[in-house]
């Protein structure tokens, strides 16, 4: 995950209480970290919301992976926001979402996006990982956990 999550854009406690609010907050954090221009934020948020309209990316267990493709990036980037109160997300198990992994990938690079999805699905299945992640209260703590968690597909 350390290969695609942007450390400076991690949010240990999302202020947003809605799906669109959380997505806007996370895209804003990527923008603040230098990955988008301020005038690109609306477009990226709208593209991610358009994708949500095709079917929620809330995969259950309190995890969602909102995502979109965007031309103007050097590589796949992502960030992670934690919600203390939970966010309604129309998830497949109807649970509110507490961990939002947001991904923006290059249209011509499906591989990194698929590997990121694989990694997030796999770590989400670990109760230990989820408990340790939700215990993080600072960006540094989240990053430490991410750095110490190997990408499953890298082991092959």
């Amino acid at each position: 995950m350390k290969n695609f999550l942007v450390r400076d854009a991690l949010i240990p406690s999302l202020a947003a209480t809605t799906k669109e609010g959380a997505i806007r907050e996370l895209v804003g954090a990527l923008q603040a970290a230098g990955y988008f221009r301020a005038n690109e934020v609306d477009h990226v948020v709208n593209e991610i919301m358009r994708r949500e309209g095709l079917g929620s990316t809330g995969i259950g267990r309190g995890v969602a992976i909102p995502h979109s493709r965007y031309e103007g990036l050097p590589r796949l980037i992502g960030t992670l926001g934690l919600s203390r109160n939970g966010i309604p997300f129309d998830s497949i198990d109807s649970q509110d979402v507490r961990m939002v992994f947001l991904l923006v990938s290059r249209p011509d690079q499906p591989g990194p996006h698929l590997h990121a999805l694989e990694t997030i699905v796999r770590v989400s299945e670990s109760d230990e990982f989820i408990n340790r992640l939700m215990a993080c209260t600072t960006r540094d703590q989240i990053w430490e956990l991410i750095e110490s968690t190997p990408d499953p597909w890298n082991r092959e």
């Binding site: 995969i59 992976i65 499906p110 996006h113 694989e118």
Partner: protein
């Protein structure tokens, strides 16, 4: 099976399918394939090299990270396997998640 004789109806049926979606088996495509698989009673296993997952789980299908051009082995076991195999092969080989609509509904 109870008398130890092989049961023809429960022999697995297999097909090799190549991913043709240029985005690979991404989230929406994986969830759609799992939904199609869930319409059948048969057990559905999908293999990529030495890894096998339950084809009725969209999340497990996502862990295959199947890129365009990946060869997957589809294995269907159960009473409706003969009906399920071609439908699932078509779903897995669909060029886009949008073209799965008629199979899903």
């Amino acid at each position: 099976m109870e008398n130890g004789q092989p049961d023809a109806e429960n022999s697995p049926l297999r097909a090799t399918v190549v991913i043709r979606n240029p985005k690979g088996l991404h989230m929406r495509a994986a969830l759609a394939v799992a939904r199609v698989a869930g319409r059948f009673q048969s057990a559905v296993t999908i293999r990529k090299q030495d890894r096998a997952v339950n084809g009725k789980s969209g999340l497990m299908l996502m862990t295959l990270a199947a890129l365009p051009g990946t060869e997957l082995e589809l294995e269907v076991t159960g009473d409706d396997a003969a009906a399920a195999l071609p439908v699932l092969a078509e779903a897995l080989a669909a060029p886009s998640a949008d073209s799965l609509g008629s199979l899903v509904n």
